[in-house]
């Protein structure tokens, strides 16, 4: 009896990882296929991001920086849409800017989609600057004049022929910059634009980066932080528009539980084996 136990735990410890892969795949897939949902609770960091935008007077300008590409789309696109809904609902003006050229079509697609929902007009209520290479150089130059880097918008239309851009020249004309980040561009936004121009910022980041950028929130360098799909779901809840973020939370919950079960099994196996070795 005892011998069988040992070999079972030992086997479990060296299980082919493809079994783990299969179980994770199923646990994530089943809620999607059957449309299961879960409720979401709002965290202070997301609430603070929401409040920062909510406080802005009508007509203020929000700049949203699309610093991600298709790979991080599942996490950041729902965030973009929720924030856009919030901005358009409050009649704020939106400028999209891109630091990841591969994110250009993705950001634009999200912008046009939400703008259509709210019947907003391009050039009056929102616009897309597009992309210019140079990362930090672009950020710094926009501190004096946006036109020194962006001669035209994403389609090449001169900025001055867009009504909303007439009075927008640099960060002083922008109430909040929202950086949606999948890489190091968020650090640049904070270190260069917030540090030098005292620009109010909110970061929406992939869940992996969230822990790393918490110090910025605590140091007051950013006004709010939206982390991962959960953060997107929380923002969706705040703007009363449950979307993709909510659907994913069920898969998410069960996958977490399964991974924790794996960790527990792994540790039981480890201790059983160690006890056996001590016994010998």
């Amino acid at each position: 009896m005892n011998g069988e136990n040992i070999s079972f735990w030992e086997k479990l410890g060296k299980i082919d990882r493809r079994w783990i892969f299969l179980i994770i795949g199923l646990v994530v897939f089943i809620p999607i296929a059957f449309g299961l949902r879960m409720t979401v609770h709002v965290s202070p960091a997301v609430k603070s991001a929401y409040d920062t935008i909510n406080r802005l007077p009508e007509g203020s300008v929000v700049m949203i920086s699309i610093d991600y590409d298709a790979a991080s789309m599942p996490e950041l696109q729902p965030m973009l849409k929720a924030i856009l809904r919030h901005c358009f609902d409050k009649n704020l003006k939106v400028i999209l800017i891109n630091f990841w050229p591969l994110g250009l079509p993705i950001g634009n697609q999200g912008l046009e989609e939400v703008a259509r929902e709210y019947g907003k007009v391009y050039g009056v209520d929102y616009m897309n600057l597009g992309y210019r290479p140079g990362d930090i150089a672009v950020m710094l130059r926009m501190g004096t004049e946006i036109r020194s880097v962006f001669y035209g918008d994403i389609k090449g239309t001169p900025l001055d022929s867009l009504p909303m851009m007439k009075n927008i020249h640099n960060y002083d004309d922008i109430a909040v910059v929202v950086g949606l980040e999948a890489g190091s561009m968020g650090d640049y936004w904070v270190q260069y634009v917030n540090a030098r121009f005292k620009q109010d910022m909110i970061l929406g980041v992939t869940a992996v980066m969230a822990a790393g950028v918490y110090p910025y929130l605590q140091a007051g360098q950013i006004k709010g932080l939206i982390g991962g799909l959960k953060g997107a779901a929380e923002y969706e809840k705040l703007v009363n528009h449950p979307a993709f973020g909510h659907i994913g939370m069920a898969s998410q919950s069960w996958a977490h539980v399964v991974i924790i079960l794996f960790i527990i099994l792994g540790n039981i196996g480890y201790f059983m084996e160690r006890r056996r070795k001590r016994g010998l």
């Binding site: 007077p57 007509g59 004049e145 036109r147 009075n167 004309d173 790393g212």
Partner: protein
């Protein structure tokens, strides 16, 4: 309708924007009632008869920086700000014109300058001291660096190649430069053991630097003839294309030792798990704080952040290098001292303030504002 209220308490000042390269004037409003809805700024200069619109003033900070491209240094500009209240509009003109200048020194960077001077002085002094007296220089153990020889050795015994996988940032990143130092050590061992190496690059400039580095290492090991530039390859400048390519190479070439060095993003764990599945000894190093946990979980040895940046000194053990490490440690001690003194001051200040004496707290806040 615009009402001019002469005795309004609002005042507007226009002045040169400090600490900039000129071409910019700051307009600030004082004593603005909270009921104001919006504030628009208008500008005129010598020769203009009417004001032209300049921009919207923030009603949180009551500050507007006018950096319009027409603004010339040394020329006076007059400003008028229209404050919109629910029922009326009040126009206020600046009491004197603003004149823009370019500054030669950015005062907001004084704290950075002080730290730069203190830190550089410490490093330089300790380098000089180390040159004079190389005895007694110490550097604490970094197991991941000690494991380099072992990993290459084991890979050789198994008759497998050694892989060196660069991170995703260019040569302007300190971690990448540290990776090159480590590559040099790895390449030297590889040359000595006469075992194959493959260096994969994400960034072409790093590729050229890697080629130079490996070439130097082979020369140092006395085997310049064995150096083959074709073993240092560029893959693609696309994050997951690079990952797919490196993964493919790993499962097919089955390396015995894998070095994952440099700044990685999400691909860190894909690379490390694939490397583990082919049974390689893995030594990772990164300054990407978000990726460190994955390397810690999936690799055999990890250089954590600053440990990586000290690698060149650890490997080289030259007095000059060790001196610079000692200097940097003193720089760290200096910062810890600043934090310690600041915390004590702030705490005592806060306690005194709650007892009714806010003087020390004021000093504390002034010091913080200086940073």
């Amino acid at each position: 309708m615009i009402l001019f209220i002469l005795f309004s308490t609002i005042t507007v000042k226009a002045f040169d924007t400090p600490n900039d390269g000129g071409g910019s004037i700051t307009i600030k409003a004082y004593n603005v009632p909270e009921t104001v809805k919006k504030a628009l700024v208008y500008r005129k200069t010598e020769g203009d008869t009417t004001y032209t619109f300049a921009g919207v003033m923030s009603i949180l900070s009551y500050r507007y920086v006018d950096a319009n491209s027409t603004i010339k240094n040394g020329k006076p500009y007059y400003y008028r700000v229209d404050f919109y209240f629910p029922d009326t509009v009040i126009s206020v003109e600046s009491d004197s014109p603003g004149i823009a200048y370019a500054q030669w020194y950015d005062k907001t960077k004084t704290s950075s300058l002080i730290f730069l001077i203190v830190f550089s002085t410490l490093v330089l002094v300790f380098i000089q001291l180390a040159k004079k007296d190389p005895e007694g220089l110490y550097i604490r153990k970094i197991p991941a660096l000690d494991a380099i020889d072992e990993a290459v050795g084991r890979s050789t015994e198994l008759g497998k190649p050694t892989f060196f996988v660069h991170g995703l940032l260019g040569i302007t990143d300190a971690g990448t430069l540290a990776a090159l130092t480590i590559l040099r050590r790895v390449a030297k061992k590889v040359a000595e053991y006469d075992t194959p190496i493959l260096v994969t690059n994400f960034d072409p400039i790093v590729m050229t630097a890697s080629q130079e580095t490996v070439k130097q290492a082979y020369t140092e090991a006395g085997r310049p003839d064995a150096y083959n530039e074709k073993n240092i390859i560029y893959l693609t400048y696309e994050q997951f294309g690079y990952t797919a390519g490196v993964d493919g190479l790993m499962v097919r070439e089955k390396p015995g030792a894998i070095f994952l060095q440099g700044y990685f993003f999400a691909e860190s764990l894909i690379l490390a798990e694939t490397g583990h599945s082919v049974g390689a000894i893995q030594i990772a190093g990164t300054t990407a704080k978000e990726q460190l946990p994955f390397f810690v979980a999936a690799c055999d040895y990890v250089l954590i952040g600053e440990e990586m940046l000290a690698a060149s000194s650890y490997i080289g053990r030259e007095p000059v290098m060790l001196g610079s490490v000692k200097g940097a440690d003193w720089g760290k001690a200096f910062l810890m001292g600043v934090i310690g003194i600041g915390v004590v001051l702030g705490t005592v200040g806060a306690i005194l303030q709650s007892a009714g004496n806010g003087a020390l707290m004021n000093v504390f806040e002034k010091i913080l504002a200086f940073f």
